[in-house]
């Protein structure tokens, strides 16, 4: 089992961008899996989740496992939800989908149910799919399996239009290792950002929105996404051990992302930061393996 890890199934913001030129960093819309013990935990269900779903088929069909899948939503914009009807476990009565958001269950349902509308899809409702769907409203920290603490915090996802809240998540395992996820957060000078920086303090791994280049950001102030520079400034301020930038602009290709990375590494104040652009289909350890010696697992207690 080992310590907490994350796997990116989708790294692309706004809309899928599947092309040979984006093959390395990825072309699916956002979905992140948190690997901890044997639990199935995901953040958001962009189209990347469909590929994870395909991989779970062997457990469901061949091994006849009943899966409990926990999905935490940052918010309900298309790119963060649209894969749910194509997440194969949803077609099996043996699956229980636990959907979490700090929003009231009626809001969560309404914003997801549109994906199952009979005019946009061949379905009738999220609640009539084969899987059992349980919608949870987060009202404070929760623990999964008593060993993984999950907390949320409001982020700044644009003020141009009033379209509901967006949330960041903090995962802390039994060893105190900490993962902070701030997707769709605009790290401009604000009370929210100051509060976020404090909340994210000393993360072992910080996953941060970095959709724009600094040169582009001026055209998109208030749209709810950070420039790569703002993201790295937050990494510095919050003393993150390692940082992964995600929510890549749809049409930025692998060559361009590598160039951006290179030019950021040449900026003096970022020289001390361990950062990269998140790659799809890749697993990242939350803590550097060389720093901490993994302790023995407390066997048999996980779900």
């Amino acid at each position: 089992m080992g310590p907490m890890r994350v796997k990116f199934w989708g790294t692309r913001g706004l809309i899928s961008s599947p092309r040979l030129e984006t093959a390395e960093y990825g072309g699916n819309t956002p979905c992140i899996q948190i690997l901890h013990k044997d639990q199935l935990i995901m953040v958001d269900t962009g189209f990347g989740c469909s590929i994870l779903g395909d991989q779970l088929m062997e457990r469901i069909v061949k091994n006849k496992e009943s899966l409990d899948i926990h999905i935490f939503y940052t918010h309900f914009h298309w790119d963060h939800v649209q894969g749910l009807p194509f997440f194969n476990p949803i077609y099996f009565p043996s699956t229980t989908l636990h959907l979490y958001s700090p929003e009231p269950p009626s809001v969560t349902l309404e914003n997801l149910n549109i994906l199952f509308d009979g005019s946009y899809s061949p379905f009738e409702s999220l609640l009539t799919m084969q899987a059992k769907v349980v919608i949870h409203q987060l009202k404070g920290p929760i623990s999964l399996g008593d060993q993984l603490l999950i907390e949320y915090h409001n982020v700044d996802h644009g003020s141009a239009v009033g379209d509901g809240n967006t949330f960041g998540y903090r995962f802390t395992d039994e060893k105190g290792h900490r993962l902070v996820l701030l997707s769709d957060h605009e790290a401009r000078i604000s009370i929210t950002n100051a509060s976020i920086v404090k909340w994210a303090m000393n993360a072992d791994l910080l996953i941060h929105d970095g959709q724009y280049l600094e040169s582009e950001y001026g055209h998109f102030i208030g749209w709810g996404h950070s420039s790569v520079n703002q993201a790295l400034d937050n990494a510095l301020k919050s003393n993150a051990q390692k940082t992964l930038l995600t929510h890549h602009a749809p049409f930025r290709n692998d060559v361009e992302l590598n160039q951006v990375k290179q030019s950021l590494k040449e900026i003096h104040r970022y020289k001390s930061i361990d950062f990269d652009f998140a790659c799809e289909d890749k697993v990242y350890h939350v803590t550097a393996q060389t720093v901490k010696t993994p302790k023995a697992e407390g066997g048999g207690s996980s779900q």
Partner: protein, 301 residues
């Protein structure tokens, strides 16, 4: 050439990104027709491929017209519209040709994409002039007198339209999404009651003969071949290479382009589909090829 077809999205159900399938492309449905001696852009459907297409269109300070033929409103065919940049520019004019269902109108569903809970861009941000024209099955119309268009209701949920486009010697049919009709899998709106009135056999024969007539003597047919024959799921609304070829053979078309690749189809699976009917097609004078993102096809000769 008088009209070319270009594929911007060839994938069915959803866009998908995996290194093993990017050879043919991972974007969902979007086709463009480039028509000689015209100044408009003509598309069929607005899947994720449309967003990528829009990325290369500059904002102009003059009127530019965009015509969209709409097959139906399932997600994979429409999710790219809000991400097609020309729709935010005031000089542009959009015409959507679409069917309505008893359940909802295309206009309603189109603006529903800008639903605030799911997209932070309100309808008021769509600065282009947008016009909607209702299309009824088998009622021909023309695009600015330059392209003749006819439609046929397919066996798929709602009122899904197959399209035929003609321009001088060039002709093409787009048949997606469509399930073979067998054993009462009547998916399209109105089909069940028609089958009850006429009797199932008469209705099925009428549907199949009607589709053959619709395709008759068309140069190129783009056909939904989501499933291999052995994997056909009658209620899912999709077809197979064999079924596609059977129709094309009866209609004496010259080229069959396999389309709507299943999201799990790797490049090798797409080739397997082509190879499964390539020789039989050739023996009847039909060139069978796979739809591939970025590829262009002439539609005559």
């Amino acid at each position: 050439m008088t009209m070319l077809l270009k594929f911007w999205g060839v994938r069915g159900s959803r866009p998908t990104h995996k290194k093993s399938l990017l050879g043919f492309g991972g974007n969902s449905t979007c086709l463009e027709f480039c028509v000689e001696d015209t100044d408009f852009n003509l598309f069929l459907d607005g899947g994720s491929g449309l967003a990528w297409r829009g990325h290369s269109i500059p904002a102009l300070n003059r009127i530019k017209k965009y015509h969209f033929l709409v097959t139906h409103t399932h997600w994979d065919h429409i999710l790219g519209y809000p991400f097609f940049s020309p729709i935010y520019h005031e000089h542009n004019q959009f015409n959507f040709y679409a069917s309505n269902t008893t359940r909802s109108s295309f206009t309603e569903l189109f603006f529903g994409l800008q639903r605030l809970g799911n997209l932070p861009v309100p309808v008021s941000a769509l600065k282009a002039k947008i016009n909607f024209q209702t299309v009824l099955p088998q009622q021909p119309f023309s695009i600015e007198g330059k392209v003749e268009v006819d439609t046929y209701q397919l066996n798929h949920q709602g009122v899904t339209l197959g399209y035929k486009l003609k321009r001088n010697q060039a002709s093409v049919c787009i048949i997606t999404d469509n399930a073979p009709i067998e054993n009462g899998n009547y998916l399209g709106e109105g089909m069940r009651s028609k089958a009850q009135t006429l009797g199932p056999q008469v209705f099925e024969d009428q549907f199949n003969e009607g589709l053959v007539n619709f395709l008759k003597d068309t140069h190129t047919v783009v056909f939904d071949t989501h499933f291999m024959e052995r994997d056909l799921k009658p209620d899912w609304g999709h077809s197979s290479p064999e079924k596609a070829l059977n129709f094309c053979a009866k209609a004496k078309v010259k080229r069959l382009i396999l389309f709507h690749h299943a999201p799990e189809d790797q490049d090798s699976a797409v080739l397997e589909k082509v190879n499964s009917i390539k020789n039989r097609g050739a023996s009847m004078g039909i060139d069978v090829v796979p739809a591939k993102e970025g590829e262009e096809w002439d539609l005559c000769g």
